[in-house]
């Protein structure tokens, strides 16, 4: 390298896999995930902590990866969108997003899905208002948020059968979509 850039070895636990990286100390977690680990499912909307698009989970809690340096979170469990499904089995939130059309352009979806996952893990039966509050830091320009709210309620209801009949009816769409179906 031509420039004097401080580099440091960091050991990250991402989606249950240990990764040892030698990266410039000023690189954000967002940049390291995308550029050094090829985990491009984490998106960027502003890189200033304003839009929520780059949300990942750190020890199960949402963090904006554009505002976190890898050295800050060594040894903690990082979950990105790539780690949300179990193999080819979608997480109930992902399944609900697919069925209800909660992802249009899909660019904000990874961040919103992870924020919603964190919510459901601490509150299995959130009210619609609680969902709004939990996701208020994530912007979406396509959906008007309506289908996202419906999808989070649907996913919550499948774990705890409190979902309203209306949301269940609107799920429609026939049999569940398995991961491989969309890539045949």
């Amino acid at each position: 390298m031509a420039r004097d850039v401080d580099r440091q070895v960091v050991v990250l636990d991402v989606n249950g896999e240990r990764a040892e990286l030698f990266v410039p100390v000023h690189k954000t977690l967002l940049e390291v995930l995308r550029e050094d680990m090829q985990l491009t499912g984490t998106k960027h909307g502003c890189e200033l902590g304003e839009c929520g698009t780059c949300t990942v989970l750190v020890d199960g809690k949402p963090e904006l990866s554009c505002l976190v340096l890898p050295v800050q979170i060594e040894g903690r469990a990082i979950t990105t969108i790539e780690g949300m499904a179990s193999g080819s089995e979608l997480h109930p939130l992902q399944q609900a997003f697919v069925e209800l059309g909660a992802a249009q352009c899909g660019y904000c979806s990874p961040g919103i899905l992870l924020a919603a996952k964190s919510l459901l893990e601490s509150n299995g039966a959130p009210t619609r208002e609680e969902i709004r509050e939990a996701l208020a830091g994530n912007l979406c320009r396509c959906t008007g948020y309506s289908k996202i709210l419906d999808a989070v309620e649907l996913a919550a209801g499948r774990v705890l059968p409190t979902v309203s009949g209306e949301v269940a009816r609107r799920a429609g769409g026939g049999p569940g979509v398995k991961d491989d179906d969309a890539h045949n």
Binding site: E50, Q94, G101, Q104, Y145, K147, G173, N184
Partner: protein, 807 residues
Amino acid sequence: MTMPTTESSNGFSVIGKPFPKPDAVSKVTGRAVYADDMLPARTLHCRILRSPHPHARILSVDTSAARRMPGVQAVITGADLPIKFGILPVTQDERALEHEKVRYVGDPIAAVAAIDEEIAAAACDAISVEYEVLEPVMSIDEALAETKDERIQDYGGPNNIHKLVALEFGDVDAGFERADHVREDVFFFQGNTHLPMEQHSAIATFVDGRVTLWSSTQVVHYVHRALAKVLELPMNRIRVIGAAHGGGFGGKTDPFAHEIIVCKLAMLTGRPVKCTLTREEVFYAHRGRHPVLMWVRTGVTKDGLITAMHFKTALDGGAYGSYGVASTFYTGALQTVTYDIPAYRFEGCRVFTNKPPCGPKRGHGTPQPRFALELHLEKIAHDIGIDSVDLKQRNFVKPMTRTVNWLRITSCGLDECTERVLTASGYRTRQKHSIGSILNAAPARRRGRGMGFAISSYMSGAGTAIYWNDMPHSEVQIKVDRGGVTAYCGAMDIGQGSDSVLAAIVAEELGLQPRDIRLVTADTDTTPIDLGSYSSRVTFMAGNAALEAARKMRDMLVEAVAAKTGIPADTVTVVAGRIGDLSFEEASILAEARFGTLTSAGSYTPPKIAGPYKGSGVGPSPAYSYSACVVDLDADPRTGIVKVNKVWIAHDVGRAINPLLVEGQVEGGIYMGLGEALMEEQAFRKGLHKWPSMLEYKSPTFMDMPEVETFIVETVDPEGPYGAKEAGQGPLLPVIPAVSSAVFDALGVWIDEVPVTPEKIVEALRRKEKGETPRFGPVRFPSIPYPTCIKVEPPSKELDRASAASI
């Protein structure tokens, strides 16, 4: 491959059912590949040096220091890309890099390709540019006045006027004479921007003498054309591929400088070159909603029937043409497709200012006049003591008619849409409350609670292409091979679900399910032309092309099965994965044996429906969608803060091919309309954007979005695929005037300016208390040197179906 399914009550197996989108799983698992997700080996990163001045001459550009920086592989300036381009043939006024003059803060001047983004940015900082700063022109009034230094562009005029339009249909003066009441109003609609979650991104390679570009564009074909022109390469040596798309809303419809620049840098370096705009750059790239000042004068009879309308607009266009000529016409074109206006005069003007260029945003040029028109009619109803909904309904256009400006209306669900939202919202009952009916036991309405009603219409694709040509607007090819079906189309899925529409139509016709259809879309090498995702054209145009191609393929499959089994072809059923008694795969093998390679093609060309006058190309569409909307809100009389409680909307989509996606488009349109109505502003101070970040540029969050009740109205258009029209743009339009009407209903003040902010409400209330006009908004419309109107004889109003296709 296909699970048998029973046909639904509408007679279709797929159409009308809520299917997940073909790419839904890749999007929720983070595997959809957007342009910035691509990082081929040896990729260079590009940054662009942009003007810090709104208006300046470039005296010199010195890149020597940048070129010497380690890690810098190439530096280019305007001398490397001198050829001008632009989306419209009449306004080829942009350069990928300017070397003579900059016209807004953000105009590109030089570009660097380096081994990483930080070096590229540092190299941009090392480029020294000498400017002669010119007086900037920052408002419509300044643009109309004599220029202090020099004009922004060297065409148009006088002064900084870009385009003037003056059209008159029927005898407007006689219409006003016939009126019992005439009213004039002035309105202003502030500009706002698309704010897609994905920043524009493009990556190019140059291999074997061929350029390949992946871009987050809405229109691969127009980018292809611009690249061929500026790079001086034949189109067959350029390939443009639409990457997974992170949101457009019109903002990625122009060809952009960065798309051309990465191609040039890839050609120079022989390496992949990527450029992703920063969020701040996206605000300056813009091409969003024009700020428009509007003056409207309408005459009505004592019963509220419109006798004549005169509409004047002044658009603040920013520094370049972009789609501006079309935008100017659009501010006057679609008033007539909702209300029967027997005599109509339109005068439009677009000016250049030293701001980022404006262009098309969802509703392109029509939300501004729709806002003005709906509020203006509310006020007229108020003046003459007629219920505003009644007044509007009395003037609704009818199906199978032609408007005074020669627009052809086929299906029209205005009446049904209106009834649906009025009934569901209780709007009329509320009206009774407000006049204190003692018959109703409901509690008296509290001050600050209000409801507003508005309607709108939008095109299902522009009836004419952006550049003159006789080719189809959309083409689809289908290949069937050993039971596998692939559909090829140039249409670009920007998240709205155009791929889903293609899959649904091909599946329906071939008796399959959408997931059985493989799609290849938005790739200029492998897919036939489609003019892209703008003007709500894809469902109608690509849909009709897909329908034709699929029916041809079905005919071949049926013929092969009939020949083999001896059953008459017209009795062979195609449903649930079977062609007659054979499986789809067996049938496809028979057909391939009979016909050879199984391919079919379909195309769509809109009917020639433009009127016989210059400028008639903007406005015609093969079909118009219709919407009606009621907004319920609370407006705090102390703070002016508005809280929207609920929105009811009914949308005449013609036919919902996939109701799940139609609802998604409608809800997204309402959301975007609320953002424009209440908070979004693209405003400038000394040439700089006031709020070029997602925190400062306010847009609605999860907490701001109200509950929405959507009604899909199906009028089954005679020419749409299965009767479908559009859903992507129309539903935004009525939301904005309905918000302002609801504020009047709540507080008795008119906010004649978008966005309807708390400050404006408080100021209007203050004026009301002082006994002044209870209103906030512009008070004058400037004197504009419009030319003499081109007088156009209106067509006969009735439209019989036989002559519908060509008037």
